[in-house]
């Protein structure tokens, strides 16, 4: 469980995140939506403790994030960052095993090997195990990184999973698979926070949606509560149409005309 309480982050006088609060319980998936520069990545960095809020605090399982030691934290949350280029190349299986690094001292145990095998099956990259990471396509690399991140918290129930645009660079099939996987992990008891660009993906898979603009909350609630033309216009400055869709509670969002 992660609780964000009135956090503000600023550089100089520029506020990147203003007085933001929300809570993600175990088993919940929160999607964060916002235009470029809305503060999504800053929020992610705050949640990962790459940077610390100027005001307010973030509680992980009821304890302030700052009080955790780094190795402890590594077993409680895993992060899929947006950029994942590496210059010294590794074999895919070695790279996924890195996700287990917080769990062993020098050499992986049979348990770690088992988990690596399992997550690679889950993300559908078993056939890439012996390949050189830098020779993979962008989408394959993204899935390898996702496997590494999953391996890190695979045996840590109630851990947090932060995904920064996990569908980036993936084709439609894998976008869907990654989101289904994220949903499945939430159902297993993880708290998942996921930055997304696709509103329909967000409303389809998330329990809660947080809409950000200029570091401030535009709306927070279930997809049914927050997906409406006003909120979307406020967040993205676009006009949309909503369309009811059979089998879904939440309406589909379709772009209308761009207005400035």
């Amino acid at each position: 469980m992660i609780q964000v309480k009135n956090i503000t982050y600023q550089i100089g006088k520029k506020r990147l995140i203003s007085d933001l609060s929300f809570e993600v319980k175990a088993g919940e998936l929160l999607a964060v939506l916002g235009a470029n520069g809305a503060g999504k990545s800053t929020l992610m960095k705050l949640l990962c403790r790459e940077i610390s809020p100027v005001y307010g605090n973030i509680l992980l399982h009821g304890q302030d994030l700052k009080q955790y030691k780094l190795p402890e934290l590594a077993k409680l949350r895993a992060v899929l960052a947006q950029q994942n280029t590496i210059s010294i190349s590794f074999m895919v299986s070695e790279l996924v095993m890195m996700g287990r690094y917080p769990h062993f001292k020098h050499q992986p145990g049979p348990h770690d090997v088992e988990i690596v095998k399992k997550v690679m099956e889950e993300t559908g990259i078993t056939h890439l195990a012996g390949r050189d990471y830098n020779t993979l396509s962008g989408g394959e690399q993204q899935r390898v990184q996702l496997s590494r991140v999953l391996a890190q918290i695979h045996d840590c129930p109630e851990a947090c999973l932060f995904l920064d645009e996990p569908t980036n660079g993936l084709d439609l099939l894998y976008q869907q698979q990654v989101m289904e996987l994220a949903r499945k992990l939430a159902d297993r008891g993880y708290s998942v926070i996921c930055i997304l660009h696709d509103i329909n993906f967000a409303s389809r898979f998330a329990d809660q949606i947080l809409m950000l603009k200029d570091g401030q909350k535009v709306a927070l609630g279930t997809p049914m509560e927050v997906i409406n033309c006003e909120n979307i216009h406020e967040t993205f400055r676009i006009n949309v149409k909503l369309m009811a869709c059979e089998g879904y509670n939440c309406p589909l969002v379709i772009p209308a005309t761009i207005q400035t």
């Binding site: 960095k45 990962c48 403790r49 790459e50 780094l70 190795p71 402890e72 934290l73 590594a74 077993k75 949350r77 895993a78 992060v79 960052a81 950029q83 994942n84 280029t85 590496i86 210059s87 010294i88 190349s89 590794f90 074999m91 070695e94 790279l95 890195m98 996700g99 690094y101 917080p102 020098h106 050499q107 830098n134 020779t135 590494r148 890190q152």
Partner: protein, 350 residues
């Protein structure tokens, strides 16, 4: 350590041992391998049998062996710090010489020689050696810090800036060394020339014992950071997410690597390319896993430098080729090969 890593390291150790014995036996005074073993057994008190000439024992114990051990230490130091620095800069092209660390060390060593000549001549021997070593170490630290600050932004090292910083530092150091050479007296000149070419010619048990701590400490500590260095390859943020104190780790690596490079430069001058090609050979042949590359670079670096030194003193015997020339002659083609293969793999973001 995994079985495969252990096996590879063991094989490399055998290679090193073979090169060491060979290098001890070959030279102006020939020593056969049975004679070599007999001298060692006799000297260590295992055997009373004397199957060798006293002259051979004297040559081996006072000239060859210190030189071989010095080669092993310097090769190990350069190899392991090269591997660690490549991991730190997250770049396979980073090398102490290329990015100006050796130049910084040379500059400070030369400053000590020229400006502090009074003190230097007064505290000759081991203490004097420590003074130059410490200066070289300090110079190496300073340049590493400078280059790192110049080329890193937001935790990322840009290779173009890195190499440009290296070029800048190298030419600045070269200019200052030139100035100091101009100022230097006739007695100081040979000492300065020695640094720019690199040589193990000054080997004695004194220099070996002076260098020993500066090499032993990095060689034994850096392998423990191998796992963290692997994680660092993914990026600073990613390593942090995996629970690694990135800032602390980088500091330790810079200190240990510059310790080895600085002290090596102080004893043997600039010996280029060992730190660059050794980790590369291991990565290309086996794996990028630093748990192999870090300790492996120490062993293979030691073997290669010992072998190169053997060549340096036998090719033009009875004269001697500065070893820096030899490693540059071997190293440059290897370096060119790396550039071309990396370009083909599209890994160089220049």
């Amino acid at each position: 350590m995994s079985k495969k890593t252990k096996l590879i390291l063991l094989l490399l150790l055998f290679l090193l041992l073979a090169v060491m014995i060979l290098s001890s036996c070959i030279g102006a005074v020939t020593i056969t391998i049975p004679e070599f073993l007999s001298i060692i057994a006799n000297q260590t008190g295992f055997s009373e049998v004397v199957n060798f000439k006293p002259q051979q024992a004297a040559v081996l114990m006072n000239i060859r062996l210190p030189r071989v051990v010095l080669g092993v230490l310097i090769g190990a130091g350069l190899g392991i710090s090269g591997a660690a620095i490549q991991g730190l800069f997250r770049n396979p092209l980073a090398e102490p010489g290329l990015i100006g660390i050796s130049a910084g060390a040379t500059l400070f060593a030369v400053i000590v020689i020229v400006l502090e000549v009074g003190i230097f001549s007064a505290i000759n021997g081991v203490v004097g050696f420590y003074a130059i070593s410490l200066a070289a170490f300090f110079g190496a630290c300073l340049t590493t810090f400078l280059v790192y600050r110049m080329s890193s932004r937001h935790g990322k090292t840009e290779i173009t800036t890195l190499l440009l910083s290296g070029i800048a530092i190298n030419s600045l150091a070269a200019g200052l060394v030139g100035l100091l050479t101009y100022m230097a007296t006739n007695e100081q000149l040979p000492a300065i020339t020695f640094w720019s070419l690199g040589s193990l010619g000054g080997a004695s048990w004194e220099t070996v014992s002076g260098l020993l701590p500066f090499i032993i400490i990095p060689v034994f500590i850096l392998p423990f950071l191998a796992k963290s260095l692997n994680a660092l390859a993914l990026g600073d943020a990613q390593a942090l997410h995996m629970g690694i104190n990135v800032v602390m780790m980088k500091r330790i690596i810079i200190i240990l690597a510059t310790m080895a490079v600085g002290a090596s430069v102080a004893v043997a001058g600039i010996i280029g390319f060992i730190g660059l090609i050794i980790p590369h050979i291991l990565r290309m042949t086996f794996t990028s896993d630093n748990r192999l590359v870090i300790p492996g670079s120490a062993i293979l670096g030691a073997a290669l430098l010992t072998g190169a030194d053997m060549a340096a003193r036998t090719i033009v015997a009875p004269a001697e080729l500065p070893i820096g020339i030899l490693t540059a002659l071997i190293g440059t083609p290897v370096f060119m090969y790396i550039i071309v293969t990396e370009r083909n793999k599209n890994k160089l973001y220049l």
